[in-house]
Point group: C2
């Protein structure tokens, strides 16, 4: 099934990377091999106009297929957006005015065309066909599916079975999305794996109505910066493609190391060979993950803002995030005779020695007394290399040669260890 009638290496790359499932892959390969420009359907909800890296996974596939000569059909879901909550009782998906929808669609497209080729994109509004929809059209459409088929959709079924309200109108959502495929004569529809049900309804409806059933191209769901949940604006774990370069860079740097390779694979153009190298470096621990993450952040920012902006963001990050906004050159230094600050507490592990930071703060004239130092710590006003210190006893290994000790917003020193080179 998976063996190619097309041996085009570009096609192979498109089908191998950033794909969760294709229904039906063999049919899709045949379509690609036919040489006919395909109509690639992708819909969006204009009540949620912000594109983040999670969406980019699919948009990149569209772009790659455009580069092979295919046509994107972008559908503005101005009708499905209404299904969110037309009764206006919930705040989760408020009804939008026509003007809001139009403004949001513009916002969306401005972002969309940062990835997708505008020249090979046709924009279609659901209102082009649904504004004229009659009750008869709705009845005819709804009659093609059974309630049981729709309650098989996982989220519908769960809500029905656990007694959470599932509005009758919500069953219309997959129907409308499916009808879009009829209206635009879609050859392929794109979506995340969570869209599989809706995409299949479209495929089925096309078959029922005598159209050629569309292929369903499902892309993986990107995990957000928290490393746990799917990337989502409402969860706050997202990297928006409208984020300015500095912010985008910093957000990529905040992902857990475990996501580095996934992000490289799904949202950068680093070659498969490059990915293999990074992967083995990480496995062999021959590279600091931070270094790869900087490379990843650079790749991502460069993609949206170009090389110079990426370089600038990287420098800014190094200056502000890694050194917590302290302009290094102008900071007063304080030489720490490490041995004299070691705490009197018995070490927890033989290898661990603690420094009493209150003593350092008094000696460095950051505070007047150790009591004041402790109070400021309790108020979370003391930072060592950008990390808040609440316990005066600090593992001496955390205090580096060049560490910045900061009190409040304005007082700080650079610590110079007297024992550097001796250890």
């Amino acid at each position: 099934m998976g063996s190619p009638p097309s041996a085009d290496p570009r096609v192979e790359a498109i089908l191998r990377r950033g794909v969760a499932e294709i229904v039906v892959e063999a049919e899709f390969r045949k379509l690609l091999a036919s040489g006919r420009p395909l109509r690639l359907k992708m819909g969006f909800d204009p009540s949620r106009p912000d594109i983040h890296l999670g969406h980019v996974v699919g948009l990149r596939k569209l772009r790659q297929l455009q580069d092979l000569g295919h046509q994107v059909v972008l559908i503005v879901g101005d009708w499905t957006a209404r299904i969110g909550d037309p009764s206006g009782q919930s705040v989760t998906r408020p009804m939008l005015t026509e003007e809001e929808v139009r403004a949001n669609a513009e916002t969306y497209m401005k972002q969309f065309f940062k990835v997708v080729d505008r020249e090979k994109t046709e924009v279609a509004w659901q209102s082009q066909w649904f504004n004229a929809f009659t009750l008869a059209d709705v009845i005819r459409l709804a009659s093609r599916f059974t309630v049981a088929q729709f309650l098989a959709r996982e989220d519908f079924r769960k809500r029905y079975e656990t007694g959470q309200p599932l509005g009758v109108h919500e069953l219309l959502y997959p129907l409308l999305q499916a009808y879009d495929s009829i209206a635009v004569k879609a050859d392929v529809e794109f979506g995340g794996t969570d869209q599989k049900f809706n995409l299949l309804v479209g495929r089925e409806l096309q078959a029922m109505m005598g159209h050629t059933p569309q292929q369903c191209f499902l892309v993986p769901i990107l995990v957000g910066t928290d490393g746990v949940q799917k990337m989502s604006k409402s969860l706050g774990n997202y990297i928006a493609i409208e984020d300015p370069p500095h912010e985008m860079f910093g957000k990529v740097m905040s992902i857990p190391d475990s996501l580095i390779m996934l992000y490289f694979e799904l949202v950068t153009d680093v070659s498969d060979k490059g990915l293999a190298e990074f992967r083995s470096q990480l496995e062999e621990r021959s590279v600091n993950p931070m270094v790869l993450k900087q490379r990843l952040a650079h790749e991502i920012v460069e993609q949206f803002y170009g090389h110079e902006a990426a370089k600038g963001a990287e420098e800014h990050f190094n200056k502000t995030f890694r050194q917590k906004e302290v302009p290094i050159s102008s900071v007063r230094s304080f030489k720490v005779e490490v041995a004299s600050y070691l705490s009197g507490q018995p070490p927890v592990k033989a290898a661990t020695q603690f420094i009493d930071l209150t003593k350092v703060m008094v000696a460095a004239q950051l505070v007047g007394s150790r009591g004041e130092a402790r109070r400021l710590m309790a108020q979370r006003a003391v930072e060592l290399d950008g990390e808040i210190v609440e316990n005066p006893l600090v593992d001496e290994k955390r205090m580096l040669d060049g560490s910045i000790l900061k009190v409040g917003k304005l007082r700080f020193v650079k610590l110079i260890r007297d024992d550097v080179g001796k250890k």
Copy 2:
């Protein structure tokens, strides 16, 4: 709850007889007592234009309330009728053309106004409001109810749970019917008990939309002439109000005795006192049920065709049905010496004696031989008092003084028993 603020005996009669349930009876009594003419909603499906006695139960309530000054609003369900099967794949409820709907509605109304007062009836077509319905209207309406609420409807739930197909469009049916109540500002809706769910959805929708919720007037479902299932055209156990007088009379005569009182109660004007008398006569066996059934048939035919027609139907029935189309006066008689025809077979029970009918047929010159008699019996061509005789041995008690023995279409004799009065 049930105690009347109105002591109007006509109101009491309306609420006592031919009512299964009123939601909410106390509210309905208050409305009746208010003196305001109420809008009594009643819908019908123009794909099923035939009215039978089962429908008459409800129509009589409408008429009784009209006689108190209230207004009927008859809704032609030209849109809900489409929900039957718009995909055209099933033969049970085919889509009707506009002309068919119009013709059927005329047929229906011709019958409807045999019971209901045309002068106090307003006719409304669903198309007056649903033709202009947009997708937005559908979404808004559907959003007011949950799938779980609709799957609570018994027939929906059963179909869903047993895996029988339940089309998504079928959920729209109760919604449309409910919206009708908004459109016509219904004070009360009428229906059989099987309509309770739909009527309550209307009531609920009115409340949600800031209207005064309608009262739901549920009438009992009439059992059909088979005495078992609800009266229904498709089950063939119905008495249509378009049936000609003779046929209507005969069908009433065919109901089992157990239904006599129910029919009297639900579809005649015989007074409560009259009903009580009939009931005790039946209980005491002081009347032949056939006599009461004739009275019932007469009442029913008279209601639709007047006294003369009812009298004619009764005479016709006596002539043709009770005597099996045999014009008694012109029939040749044959005197049966019972003892000489008793079969040689030993009696099964001591009390049972059998006559060999083949011998009687030969003696009466209906056939040339007992062999011919047996052949004709095998061909089901021999009848005793209208019942086919297949076994030559007949319980002598079945052969009455005056019984008609018939062979084929043309040969018959009246049997005169020689032992009448001796037994």
